[in-house]
């Protein structure tokens, strides 16, 4: 039996610690940007999915089925290798000027997660009594404005628990971005492992950080939920 010498110092200080730290920072940036964008895109797709205009509804339906039912890894590769061919030049230029891997990962994570978020929001909207839409329309709000001011704010509040789930999934899924060379947490843990052969320590540290991140996200969203939701629940 080979005896493994634990050495936690590689992950608690020095160069490798800094690698992990920079990985964490990239993971947080990647997740934050994708959370915000996927939420906004999810809202848009949810509204399109419920539109009374058939082609719009069909497009949203196709979008949802397509992106929910193909592996995220494939989607990441698709945007990484294929985006040159289909994205408008402005976006390609921007991607090249900033950080191409990071940009491709944001696009993939955003689109993939938005499909799930859209479905969650749609079921939130369905649980809002139809009388709310009638009240809004009766005041003279258009369908879109009724959604914006009256239906979606209520639906999103109801959707908070599933949204937390999607945000957690997104953060975990962001580790797949290492496959296209985004230097996020898992990528850096892998680097530490290959330089030091201290894989156990490196990945334990990474795992702990993911757990802490998840707890932090849950606490933040729940806190927001309590503050905003409490007046609605009060009696």
């Amino acid at each position: 039996m080979l005896k493994y010498q634990f050495d936690w110092s590689v992950v608690t200080s020095g160069k490798y610690f800094e690698w992990l730290l920079s990985g964490l920072s990239t993971t947080i940036q990647l997740s934050l940007v994708s959370v915000v964008l996927s939420f906004l895109l999810g809202l848009l797709i949810a509204v399109m999915r419920m539109s009374s205009i058939k082609p719009v509804r069909w497009f949203a339906h196709g979008y949802l089925e397509f992106f929910r039912n193909t592996p995220l890894l494939v989607q990441i590769f698709f945007w990484y290798f294929g985006s040159y061919k289909i994205l408008p030049t402005v976006i390609n230029d921007w991607l090249n000027r900033t950080n191409f891997e990071f940009g491709a990962a944001v696009i993939a994570l955003t689109i993939y997660t938005s499909a799930f978020i859209a479905e969650d929001i749609r079921s939130g909207v369905r649980s809002i009594p139809k009388e709310q839409l009638e009240a809004a329309r009766s005041s003279g709000f258009s369908y879109i404005r009724s959604m914006q001011y009256i239906i979606l704010p209520q639906a999103v509040r109801i959707t908070i628990p599933p949204l937390i789930n999607q945000f957690l999934n997104l953060t975990k899924n962001s580790s797949l971005a290492m496959t296209i060379g985004v230097m996020e947490l898992t990528y850096q843990a892998r680097q530490v492992e290959s330089y030091t052969f201290k894989g156990f320590e490196a990945f334990t540290a990474a795992t702990l950080v993911y757990v802490v991140l998840s707890i932090a996200i849950t606490i933040m969203v729940t806190y927001y939920d309590k503050i905003v939701l409490s007046p609605m629940k009060a009696r």
Binding site: A135, A136, S139, G140
Partner: protein, 244 residues
Amino acid sequence: MITFKGVHKWFKDLHVLNDINLHVNQGEVLVVCGPSGSGKSTLIRTINKLEPINQGTLIVDGLDLSDSKADINKLRAEIGFVFQQFNLYPHLSVMRNITLAPIKIRKMSKNGAESQAMMLLERVGLIEKRDAYPTQLSGGQQQRVAIARALAMKPRIMLFDEPTSALDPEMIGEVLLVMKDLAQSGMTMIVVTHEMGFASEVSDRVVFMDEGQILEEAAPDEFFKNPKHERAQQFLKEVLSPMH
């Protein structure tokens, strides 16, 4: 102000509005009554096109509702609608419930809309509830806020669909009081209600519906003392009986 000419509406095979002919003048208060399922809600919901009609002509405030170019959102802003279940926005405070449409649709300033809301809250007797949320209010209070919300758009017409029938008996009076005040101020009102006291006190005309048809249309005194149609007599017996 509102004219129905030969209006028909079907839900699938169900003939809910059958040859409706009705004219409501500006400043008039019309009460609509009739048994459950007779089409009263459907009738007033056609006036702001919450329900589209299938046949006939309906002209509201000079606008032909069958004209596909008619700006329906603009018309709806001129028509206040008060629902049986109040339908306040639960995520917004009383103040925001009242000021949302004036700010977003009428483009009023926030200050202007809020001072107007304070006047309306005073009128319905709920000044102290400005920061409350709908779930913190009783049914009667919610309905008074709903009326204030509708009035905040300075509507030319107010429609009420059984505004008191979801309320506990002790709260009906406070809502009717607000409505009477409104009727006396010259508002054009159509009120679906079984509150016959309200009908005889402030309405100009009573319409009795059954099975999608208007069976009787009369001044309230005449309708209560001397209903012509047999179904109306029976209906009145039921709603006026002490058992009810």
